[in-house]
């Protein structure tokens, strides 16, 4: 894993300032602390900071093809690289490293952008053909790894994180009101957008193409389809389970390819327990595992975690997330995450990757994506219940099934009435493409009441739902309703929040690479062939995955109720001696950022000081406002990094004034 960055002249050859590349690379040093390299000619500068995992000795980047006309900077892993390499060698390609990076470059020579179809992995890379003056940059299918860009006058800038672009920007960075409107609805920006004006993110499954004399274009190469035609209705549950089991095993097998040891996160939930058991039973008996425990009992899963550690007999380490630490490190995680966040849950993951690194590990497997792909979240079950209710919206009985999802809240009869009304929103529109998410998103939208008048004016009449609608596949309306919910969850929450704010960014902050076996595209595509009634059997979530792991895991893990991974918000920011709430949320600071209404923020603080048990919405507002204020401090009021004079590239290929 690594950080990559680059600067490209879009119109004519012109001096590329190597010092800018140096500063961009320095801003990404957490992503790649092991070595740095750059390539510069009169059109382009490519730079990379490397976290060495495969081919430790000769894999230094940038890497080139046989005649050194094509160069690549690469962040990520191609897990099927040995197989691709073998076929390329047969075609006559000569390799000078054993890295996966070099495989991409030769595959690109063979297939141009079609090379992406063959890659099984997590990646963001940029390839420069210096003869043809062509740039090709791409990001993996579901956005496990990031890539940001900006076009300014006649230049194109790109980097693994926005901070590298901000570092060399001449003008002050500002919030993008549309980006924030999206975040305060979907928890994340929609694909392509960021929280900052003028800076874009390359959407998952997309590539950028540029050739001198032509415009730069952004194109899609992969999209998730849950088309009805893909569903195999004639297959039985045991058949599906056995095929998934084989795929999972292979996905994990190739994700253990590394020249450094690979560890595993182990939370005590089904997903990470399943991965860990497969590794332990098939590939590595000496497995190292890592997990989080919480100070606050209602968030803690130690019992299940310990059960798994005992069951598999792994060498396990844990970090204990205290409320004090969650408040204390919140500013850090906003710096690395580069987005307002409505949750505190990234902090423990930041602490966990720190622990992993301290224990000498750079690579860990994690269970992310299983809930989206296999149907694990409550929102999918909720969709089923609401769909069941929508058959007869006036039914007295049907809404009572909600109790199955939220038994504790529905115990109280008075609350039950209110909640029922809450979930009834949109029940008469089962064909609304957002039927599954309308309750949740509508609730999140209330967070925007905290926006200042001026900021709301900047958002104007923009409607984020219309934009999301424009991103949906053509045949979306024909899909099964659970699949629709999955799709929406995958393109918003999973790619934009889970894999980013809780994923890559929290791991790379401490120079740790995450690998996500459930998001092997073969598994994602396979799961689109499974009838949705098998994914969630009745209201039994991840039914097929439970079948797959039934014999590998203790009954208690397979049958346990699923708890969403969360971290305390209110108690992490209030009465915390390591968190200066009143200065972070002072009227002066709030006014300076201009995003929120200071009077409303003050009332929220007073409410939180009075009451220990806040509503979900109030908690989200607290995290959202504090993170936005930190973002203001980190990036709007950006202070250029103090790059040490002696900081220089380990490898520097200078071809300036050499190319016709």
């Amino acid at each position: 894993m690594c950080g990559i960055s680059g600067i490209l002249n879009l119109k004519n050859p012109a001096q590329i300032d190597a010092n800018n590349l140096r500063r961009m690379t320095y801003a990404l040093s957490h992503r790649g602390p092991d070595e740095t390299g750059a390539y510069v000619d009169d059109w382009i500068g490519l730079a990379q900071s490397r976290l060495s995992i495969i081919d430790l000795s000769s894999g230094s980047q940038p890497i080139h093809n046989e005649d050194k006309s094509i160069w690549i900077v690469f962040n990520g892993e191609i897990f099927n690289y040995p197989e691709i390499r073998e076929s390329l060698v047969k075609l006559g390609h000569r390799f000078y490293t054993t890295s996966d990076t070099e495989v991409i470059i030769h595959l690109y020579e063979e297939k141009k952008e079609k090379c992406l179809d063959d890659l099984n992995g997590q990646f963001a890379f940029a390839i420069w053909d210096s003869h043809k003056k062509e740039l090709f940059a791409a990001r993996d299918r579901v956005g496990i790894l990031p890539l940001f860009y900006k076009i300014n006058q006649d230049r194109f800038y790109f980097a693994s994180e926005a901070k590298a672009i901000i570092e060399i920007s001449d003008s002050q960075t500002s919030f993008d009101p549309i980006g924030l409107d999206q975040i305060f609805t979907f928890w994340t920006t929609l694909p392509g957008k960021t929280a900052f004006s003028g800076i874009s993110e390359l959407a998952p499954g997309h590539f950028i193409k540029f050739s001198a004399g032509k415009n730069l274009s952004v194109n899609r190469y992969w999209s998730l389809s849950y088309s009805k035609e893909l569903v195999q209705n004639d297959k039985s549950i045991p058949q599906f389970a056995s095929e998934i089991s084989e795929l999972m095993k292979d996905s994990i097998r190739i994700r253990l390819r590394a020249d450094v040891p690979v560890g595993s996160y182990l939370s005590g939930g089904l997903d990470s327990s399943g991965i860990t058991a497969v590794v332990k039973n098939n590939f590595n008996n000496q497995l190292r595992t890592f997990g989080i425990t919480f100070q606050e009992e209602s968030f803690d899963e130690s019992d299940f975690q310990n059960l798994m550690v005992k069951h598999l007999d792994t060498n396990h380490s844990e970090v204990h997330a205290t409320n004090e630490d969650i408040g204390k490190y919140f500013s850090n995680i906003v710096y690395y995450g580069e987005k307002p966040i409505i949750r505190a849950a990234p902090v423990p993951l930041f602490l966990l990757s720190k622990k992993v690194r301290e224990e000498g590990y750079k690579v860990v497997l994690t269970g992310e994506g299983a809930d989206e792909i296999f149907g694990g979240y409550n929102i999918f079950r909720e969709t089923k219940v609401r769909k069941f209710w929508s058959v007869d919206p006036e039914s007295k009985f049907r809404p009572k099934l909600l109790k199955k999802l939220y038994p504790y809240i529905f115990k109280d009869n008075r609350l039950a009435q209110t909640l029922q009304a809450f979930f009834k929103l949109g029940i008469d529109e089962p064909n609304n493409p957002f039927f599954s998410h309308v309750v949740r998103w509508n609730n999140n939208t209330k967070l925007k009441n905290f926006f200042s008048e001026d900021f709301s004016k900047q958002i104007g009449g923009y409607n984020c739902y219309d934009e999301l609608k424009s991103l949906l596949p053509e045949d979306f309306d024909d899909w099964d309703y659970v699949y629709k919910a999955q799709y929406l969850e995958i393109i918003t929450f999973m790619s934009g929040y889970l894999l980013s704010s809780q994923g890559d960014r929290m791991a790379m902050a401490n120079s740790v690479e995450l690998r996500v076996p459930y998001l092997d595209h073969r598994i994602i595509e396979y799961m689109a062939t499974v009838p949705s009634r098998f994914k969630i059997r009745g209201l039994n979530e991840k039914y097929l995955l439970k079948k797959v792991f039934k014999d590998l895991l203790p009954k208690e893990i397979v049958n346990r109720p699923k708890n969403p991974y969360r971290a305390p918000i209110r108690n992490s920011f209030f009465n915390n001696k390591s968190f200066d709430l009143h200065s972070v949320l002072s009227e002066k600071e709030i006014n300076e950022a201009g995003v929120f209404n200071p009077a409303k923020v003050k009332l929220l603080i007073q409410k939180a000081e009075r009451s220990q048990s806040l509503s979900e919405l109030d908690n989200m507002a607290i995290a959202g406002i504090i993170s936005t204020q930190f973002l203001q401090n980190h990036f709007v009021n950006y202070k250029k990094l103090n790059v040490p004079a002696e900081y220089s590239f380990n490898t520097f290929i200078d071809k300036r004034n050499q190319i016709n």
Binding site: V385, D392, L401, R537, G538, N540, N559
Partner: protein, 89 residues
């Protein structure tokens, strides 16, 4: 509903998986589902949702009475009569 599909077996398997956590030895067609505490008032809605989801039928509030779901036999009778009604329409 397709009569050739062994729907009762599918329903039984669902009850075993979902309410008995795999332990279906003692579940027979006559087992009283409510009296034995296998299914409660929320459970019956889960079962109805499952039946609707898997067999593409709709069960009205009027039909949501305990008698129709009191045992596998009762469910069988109920679904058959529902099917007959649908066929005669």
């Amino acid at each position: 509903m397709n009569a050739s599909v062994n729907y009762l077996e599918t329903i039984k398997q669902f009850i075993v998986d979902n309410f008995l956590f795999g332990d279906g030895k003692s579940l027979v067609k006559e087992t009283p589902l409510f009296e034995k505490g296998i299914i409660d008032s929320t459970g019956v809605l889960e079962l109805v949702a499952f039946i609707e989801d898997n067999f593409k039928i709709t069960i009205s509030d009027d039909e949501l009475v305990q008698d129709n779901f009191s045992s596998l036999n009762a469910i069988d009778r109920f679904l058959k009569s529902k099917n007959d009604k649908a066929a005669s329409q």
